[in-house]
Each structure stands twice: as C-alpha cells, then as structure tokens.
C-alpha cells in the first residue's frame, strides 16, 4: 500500500484549522432573510385557531407561514410519512413547530413570534411506555398499529422456548437504557434560495442530502430535477442530522414564495426539541447456557419509547434485536419488540442506531453468566464467537471476524488475567464486546439502483476531481475518497479535489448513516479509478512499449512517465476522460418480511476493557483508563481511524456515566406539561476534557473481501462495548449491578445500601409490562433446514401506509 495505512493530515484538515470550512450557518447571500419557528408549549394538544395578523403587520416581517400552507406530510421511512413541516391541527411534543416568521433579521423574526396567537385545546399527555400501553386514547397518531403502540414486531428463529427449557441454566435479566441525545456542537442550520434559472437550492447541515431532496420534491410539489440539496460539512452529526427536518421544508417553501434567500439556524434549546436521539429501551433477556458455557438460545423482548413521531423508529426498533446474533453463536433466537408513541421529542438513530441498548444488556448478562459459571468473561466470549463466513440464526451473512484478536489484545494490554477480580476494594476491570454494520444492506426506500456513485474528472492538467454524494460530517469521508483514488492511481491524496454532498452535481450517495460510507463509496471509488487507470495504462503502454499490466502507478508516476504526461496521452487517445463507479450491497440471504434490517456487506468487531475506581462512601465513579481494540478490516488513515475509535469511547463513556434526555412534569399551576428537564449544554451533562481517561487504542486488521481494500467501518461499532464494560467494571470494583444507564453515583450508593441490608445489590428495572406482542414470524435457522423464508402463514399482513 502506498497511501493506505500511513498516518496523514486529512485532505480537508487545513480548512478546518483556519476557519475556512463553510458550515451551513456561515453562508450569507445577498438579500437574505431570516426565519424563526414558533413551537408548541404543550406536549399534546389540538390547535383550535392560529392568528397571525399582528405578526404579519410587524415592521420587517416578510412572511408568516402556518400548517395551512403545508398540506403534504413527509417522513424518512415510507411507512412513517407522519410529519408536517408545520403542524396544522395536532401537536405532539413541547417544541413541535406550528408557525414560521420570515423577517429582515433574526431579532425581528423573534419579536414577531410573540405576536402570533395560538389557541390550543390540551389533550391528555402520554409520557412513557407504561402510559402508552395503558392509554390507547387519545391516539397520538391515527395510523399506529394498536392504540398508542406504533409498531409491533415478533420473530422466532427456531423454537427458543424448547431450547431454553432444555438448557442447564436460563438467565433472566431486565435492563433499561435511558434516552440521550447527539449534542453536535453545530446547531442545525439551513439556507434556501431560488437561483437565476428559477430552481431551488437548499444548503443544510444534513447527513442525508438525498433524502432531504426527495422530501422537498414531495412537500413542495416541485420537480425533483429542479431541486438541489447541498450538505454543508456538518459540525458533528452522530445521527442527529439523518432525519428530514421541519425547518428545511419551511425555509425552502419560504424561499420559493419570496424569491429571496431564507436562512434559519436553530438555537440550542431547539436542537434538544428536534432530538431524533437514542430511544429509551426497556429490555428483557432470557438466555440459555450449557454447563460448559455455550449459549443455547435467547429470547429478547424490547419496549421502545419513540416520542412523538415515527421517524426512523420502525428501523430503530428492528435494530434493538437484529444484531444480537452476529457476535456470539446463538442456535435459536426469539425477538419481540414494540415501539410506542409518547408526547416527547421524537427519537431516532444515534451512533449505533438501536443496537447499543440491547448490546448493553447482552454484555452485562454475559458478565453475570461468566460469574455464575465461574469462568473468565473473556474466555466465555472467546468460546462463543461466531465463525467467520457463516450464517446466523436470523439469516445474516457474516464475513471476516477479527474479534478473537481484539479480545486477546485488550486482555493482554490491560493485564486482565492478573488484575480482574483481584484489584481490591473500590477498583475494578470490566470487559465487553460489540459488532456493527458496515452499511445497511437496503436503501430506506425500495429500489434496485446503486446506493452510491463516484464520478471522476481527469484532464491534461493532471487534476483528478472526484464527485460523490457522500456527506462529510467530520468522520473523514472526503479523506477516504481521496485516499482510495490516490492508492489506485499512485498519486498524492492532496492532488485530488473532492466535490461531495451536492445532489445537483454529484452522483447519488444515500448519506452518512449506518457506517456505510467507507465501504460503499470506497467500492464505487475503486471501480471508477480502475476504469481511468486502465485508459491511462493503455495510452502510456503504447508510448513506452511496455504492456499495460506491467506499468506501475506510484509516486505520481506511470512507469517512467509523469502522471500528467500519462494523462495527456490518454486524453489524446480516448478523448475527454471520465469514469463512473457505483455500488450496491449484495442481497442478504434472508427472505422473510423484516429480513431487510440487519444485513450488511460486512460487520466490524470491537473489544473493550474499562478500569473503574468507585468510592463506596459517595458512589463517585472515576475511570482512569480504557483499552479498546477494533477490527477495522484495513486502516485507510490511522490518524482518522484512531479518532473515530476514541471519539466513540468518549461518547460511550459519557452515555454510561451521565448523558440522559429526561423530562419532568411542570406543577399543575404551570400547566402540568411534560417538559424537557433543562434543554441546555450545561445541564445536559457530558464528559469534558477533565473527565476523559487515557485510551489505549489498537486497530486490528482482518480485511473483508466485500470492503474496499478490506476496510470496514470505525465510526459506530467502537461505542458499543464501552457502556457494558463500564457496568461490568463497577461490579468488579464494588460488587453491585447497575442494570440501567446512565450509571450515576446515586444509583451506585442505592445499590450498595441495598446490599448492606442483605438485599440484592442491584439497581435496575424490576418488571416488564405486559406487551401485546403478536404471534411471531417463524423462520427456521439455516441449520434447521430453513431456506431463509418464513413458515407459510406466520407472516402478518403488510402495515398500511397513512395517506397524506
């Protein structure tokens, strides 16, 4: 490898340290107006009347929009087109937008918001899953499957009950993972403008310009070809910018109506309302184990608190069960899930999308199993790892698995064998693992087209410009694009210009989500670069009298020619040069309804050891060091790869110890509304530089044949094992189980107190409510004679899509 694997400054590094990276809110256009949104103060209410006359008459106001101006709904998934840009009659959480003011400046727009009068008729608030199950009415959405249950899912891969009944041990554990939010430092912003040709451009801090483009065409009823969405570099995403946002739709409509650019930048409080963050999930695991420590089967039930809208929720709910099978062999598996609507900001995908919650439960339960069986938790995991190139019970095709080496690395580097269970009072080590997708197998809306494309422009100047719809959210996708093309063409990554995330001039890429970009864009980039390389080699071989396959492309040379000379010869021979590449993942082997969530071209693997010091007098938790080993397949740029892994460790530790998006009811004299506890960066606790421990990072390379040069993802998987490793370390330190996140000093003290009183030293959920799960879809696993289809008659009818 000439470029890959070597530490390098990222290609967009200079712009980031000089303040030249242009984020959405940095865009200023001539005659630009500013927009503010009026948001509902009620968690659940009907709008009886909106009066906007005074606001319209306010000096400096150009336009006031309400729900009446937006008859068409949108939503990221085809099955949840349940959002209006501005709510016309029904508000579903505190912060649901109901009106917009567009004015000469932000100050004037803010003043005019106060002049809009809305008469609400409050409805009963549904505040949590328990209330949602108990109160089918009032319905938050008419299209939900049953009362306020948005979606129900149930699958059985082999007879789990039978295998549990026969197992030597069955472990039954309840876990709860509190919701939390992405907290990107950049607040969402968007600028919409009509260009000289009468076409619409939207610049936005979005991770999914293609999906925003589609939604704009639908909501504004404009031809999609007359819309261009430019994803500005995101100031942090983490999943928080993967949904289609109200403000994007409304700003675009305002620009279309006014013929002037319109900008909106959400304030921090509004970012908390926009949310789309981690779903709170209650989980019940029943896992069978043999005396020898082999897992026999699992029955997992999840109850997912969705908030006020569908969003990605249906997929998130599938993900609370889809990936339990790709780490450890599970001969039989039953999964039941329910997502409920509640009157809170809608939840969605945050780093790990739906999988960190059950990963927490699974890995803490394994720690309990190891202790009961008196085996080392690392050994227990090693003996259960899924075999490479195999199928799982739920028909996922797994390729390369570097997990064994990951476990061995963290065990050795943390001196695990000598220190685990032997560190003395208040000090402990905990281990956990995880695995994640390298891109979702299927696109969000059904189609057979590529999920990503790369187009190359190469000319006699020697310039190579790469066009791709991929969105740079800080993860380094531009650097990956440049590095892969540079590797193929034997040039310096800095000699490549990347033009990305622009639906008007770049080929499709579905977005920066599900850790898909390196694998999918990378494969498309190789395809495009190889085509150009073949043309250059053909032309150069004629000149040099060497056969094309004997020509080396390295260090800016093609054989003995300079790259520029060789490109000139190719342009002479073939005319204007250009090439395209595209990629779509292989079809997963599952053939049952629901098999679309979980398949991926490859899976990444991670192992983590956390050291924790716990003060038994105060419950205070200090984490001095974390060891992490991540199977990345192949490292493209070790500087960035390490940054992704350590950023994941940071976010995971922050979620383990403090992050929570929580709500409280105002006292009755203040409306009794359910409101966000304190939507501010100060009160939403996250780790600072002072709290961050030393991190020892190892990149394990087990290349996967489906991936570009074998490279897997690094941005999400490494977060997964951190939270359970923290919980397991706390148990090693003070002997109490905190089976819910975040693990606060208060919960540790409570568990220690229970233990002192002779009760189980545990804090966590005590019961799992009766959820009306449907009869499961029955799919025999591969080793029980299945072919990937469900048993006839066990699949339920398709869920109706609500008309808008």
């Amino acid at each position: 490898m000439k470029v890959l694997g070597k530490p390098r400054r990222r290609v967009d590094g200079r712009a980031k340290v000089t303040g030249q990276t242009r984020f959405a809110d940095d865009i200023v256009l001539p005659r630009m107006l500013h927009m503010k949104l009026l948001r509902s103060p009620h968690p659940h209410a009907l709008i009886e009347e909106i009066s906007t006359e005074k606001a319209k008459a306010h000096p400096g106001v150009h336009l006031v929009l309400t729900g009446k101006d937006f008859p068409i709904t949108f939503g990221i998934l085809p099955v949840s087109q349940d959002e209006y840009p501005l709510a016309p009659e029904h508000v579903r959480y505190v912060g649901d937008p109901v009106a917009a003011v567009i004015a000469r400046d932000e100050q004037t727009a803010t003043e005019a918001l106060d002049l809009i009068a809305v008469r609400y008729k409050p409805l009963k608030t549904i505040s949590d899953p328990q209330e949602a199950l108990q109160n089918p009415e009032p319905r938050i959405h008419a299209y939900s499957e049953l009362g306020n249950i948005h979606r129900l899912q149930a699958f059985e891969f082999g007879d789990a009950e039978e295998v549990l009944a026969k197992s030597d041990y069955v472990f039954e554990d309840l876990f709860f993972y509190e919701g939390n939010t992405h907290l990107p430092i950049e607040q969402h912003a968007a600028v919409a403008a009509v260009d000289g040709e009468g076409k619409l451009t939207l610049w936005s801090s979005t991770q999914v310009p293609h999906y925003v483009h589609r939604a704009l065409a639908r909501v504004l009823q404009l031809p999609a070809a007359h819309i261009r969405v430019i994803a500005c570099p995101n100031g942090g995403g983490f999943g928080g910018k993967t949904d289609i946002c109200n403000h994007e739709m409304v700003a675009a409509k305002a620009a279309v109506l006014l013929g002037r650019p319109v900008k909106i930048c959400l304030n921090r409080e509004e970012v908390f309302y926009l949310h789309r963050g981690r779903h709170p999930v209650l989980m019940k695991f029943r896992t069978g184990v043999t005396k020898g420590g082999k897992l026999t089967g699992m029955h997992l039930q999840t109850l997912v608190d969705g908030g006020g809208y569908g969003g990605y929720g249906t997929a998130s709910t599938f993900y609370t069960g889809a990936l339990q099978t790709v780490t450890y062999e599970l001969p039989r598996y039953k999964f039941e899930a329910a997502r409920v609507f509640t009157n809170k900001p809608p939840c969605g995908p945050k780093r790990g999308h739906g999988t960190p919650q059950p990963r927490f439960g699974q890995e803490v339960q394994l720690d309990k199993i190891a202790e009961r069986l008196n085996v080392d938790p690392a050994e227990l995991r090693l003996q259960n790892i899924v075999k490479p190139n195999s199928l799982t019970a739920n028909w996922l095709k797994v390729g390369s698995i570097g997990l064994e080496q990951c476990i061995r690395e963290v065990v050795e580097r943390s001196d695990w064998k000598r220190r685990f269970r032997k560190m003395g009072p208040g000090k402990g080590l905990g281990l956990a693992c995880g695995s994640y997708l390298c891109g979702a197998g299927l696109p969000i809306y059904w189609n057979k087209m590529p999920q990503t494309g790369v187009q190359l422009l190469v000319d006699r100047s020697g310039q190579v410009t790469a066009f791709c719809g991929a969105t740079e959210i800080g993860q380094g996708s531009d650097d990956v694009l440049a590095a892969i093309i540079a590797e193929v063409l034997g040039i310096d990554p800095f000699d490549i210009r990347c033009v990305t995330g622009d639906t008007g001039i770049t080929p499709i890429d579905l977005g920066s989500y599900s850790s898909r970009v390196t694998v999918m864009m990378g494969n498309a980039a190789i395809q495009a670069a190889e085509k150009i390389k073949a043309q250059i080699a053909d032309a150069a071989s004629g000149e040099l009298g060497v056969s094309p396959e004997r020509l080396t492309f390295a260090n800016g040379k093609v054989g003995s020619l300079s790259f520029v000379e060789a490109v000139g010869l190719a342009e002479e021979k073939f005319g204007t040069l250009g090439a395209v590449g595209s990629y779509k993942p292989p079809r997963g082997p599952g053939r049952y309804k629901g098999a679309g969530v979980g398949p991926s071209p490859a899976y990444s693997y991670t192992a983590c050891v956390v050291e924790a010091d716990v003060d038994p007098a105060t419950g205070w938790i200090t984490v001095p060091k974390i060891w992490i080993a991540h199977d990345i397949g192949r490292t493209i740029n070790p500087v960035l790869a390490r940054g992704q892994v350590e950023g994941s460790v940071y976010m995971g530790l922050s979620e383990a110890l403090m992050e929570e998006q929580v709500f409280r009811r105002l006292p009755p004299r203040l409306s009794g509304a359910l409101v966000h506890k304190i939507p501010s960066l100060l009160e939403y606790k996250s780790l600072t530089s002072l709290d961050m421990p030393e991190v020892d990072t190892v990149l394990v390379e087990d290349p996967d044949p489906n991936c570009p040069f074998g490279a897997k993802e690094a941005g999400q998987g490494p977060l997964l094992p951190v939270m359970p490793a923290v919980a397991n370390a706390i148990y090693d330190a003070v002997g109490v189980r905190i089976d819910e996140l975040p693990i606060t000093p208060h919960k540790v003290l409570k568990a220690l107190e229970l233990k002192r009183r002779g009760k189980p030293g545990r804090v966590g959920p005590e019961s799992f409510p009766a959820v009306p799960y449907p009869e499961p879809v029955v799919v025999p696993p591969p080793w029980e004679g299945g072919d990937g289809h469900a048993v006839k008659g066990s699949e339920r009818p398709k869920i109706r899509v609500p008309a808008s």
Binding site: K16, V17, Q475, V639
Partner: protein
C-alpha cells in the same frame, strides 16, 4: 429599530471599524457584520466554548461579550492565527499545523475556539503538562475526538514552538 453604534478596535493585528446594532454580541459582530465566520457558536449561552476568541490576549467567550465593550481593544480570531499563505507548512500557526496533522480537528466546529484557548495557554506556559492542557480546554466541548488527539496536538505545537524559539535565539 435602534440606530447603529460605531466602534474602532484592533482586529487580528489591523485597525478596524465597525457599525452594528447595539444589542449585538462580539460573536454576532464578528460573524454577521465583519464577515469573520471562522468563529463558531454552539449555544450562545457561554456553555460550549466554540466562540472563544482572544481579547487583549485573554481567551473570552465572544457570545457573552457585548460588541460595544470592545472599543479600543485587540481582538484575535482564528482568521488571524496564520498568514494563510500556500506552500509546505507555510501559512499555518504551529497549533493549526499540529491540529491538522494529528487528528485534533474532526468536524472542525469546536476547533477555532480550542485553537484560541490553546494559543493563550502556550503564550503563558511554554511546556504545559497534560493536566494543565486538560484544565485549559475544559471549557471547550468537543463531541468528536474524545480529546486525546487535541491534547497531543497542543503538546506537539508546544514542542514545535519551543524549537522555533530556539532556532530564533541561535540566529
């Protein structure tokens, strides 16, 4: 609409004049009236540190400073750190170069605020310990990096600045 105020200040080493609405913060003055969008904002409540600039050499949160307080003062932003010229290593302050080389900027949104804070630290302490660095940037939130590579970049910049100072002395 109230009348604009007028002020003179030193901006990135050059004399500058500005006319602005009286309610504006220094952050708004820089971004909206002076076109210096390198300074970012994450809360406008003094909680995230993204908007840190140097006022008379001291790191300050520009979202909490009224623009009219800056009459006659020296304000420095990320745009003033390096010359911005082209060529190998040219144009970047050693902190900027180290941040770019060592992965201290991922999304780059908190970066300008951290660079300014680190610059003030290194102006006072040539070789700060890891603990001092952690303390100095503890008011700057970063959601991407996990901070490790930021600490390392500041340490590396201190080294490079030290080497520069030595070579100047030798001359």
């Amino acid at each position: 609409m109230s009348r604009n105020l007028h002020l003179s200040l030193t901006l990135n080493g050059e004399p500058a004049e500005a006319s602005f609405a009286p309610y504006k913060t220094l952050l708004e003055l820089l971004r909206e009236d002076l076109g210096l969008t390198g300074t970012k904002h994450g809360c406008e409540l003094g909680e995230c540190g993204a908007c840190a600039v140097l006022i008379d050499g001291q790191p300050q949160l520009s979202c909490l400073v009224l623009a009219l307080e800056c009459q006659g003062r020296a304000v420095e932003t990320v745009e003033g750190m390096g010359s911005g010229g082209m060529g190998d290593g040219a144009g970047l302050h050693p902190l900027q170069a180290a941040f770019a080389d060592l992965g201290a900027a991922q999304c780059g949104y908190c970066t300008p605020g951290i660079l300014m804070t680190a610059k003030a630290l290194l102006a006072h302490e040539k070789n700060p310990s890891r603990e001092r660095i952690k303390e100095a940037v503890s008011g700057n939130l970063c959601r991407c990096t996990g901070y490790q590579q930021i600490f390392e970049a500041i340490e590396e910049a201190a080294k490079r600045l030290g080497a520069e100072a030595v070579s100047k002395d030798e001359r």
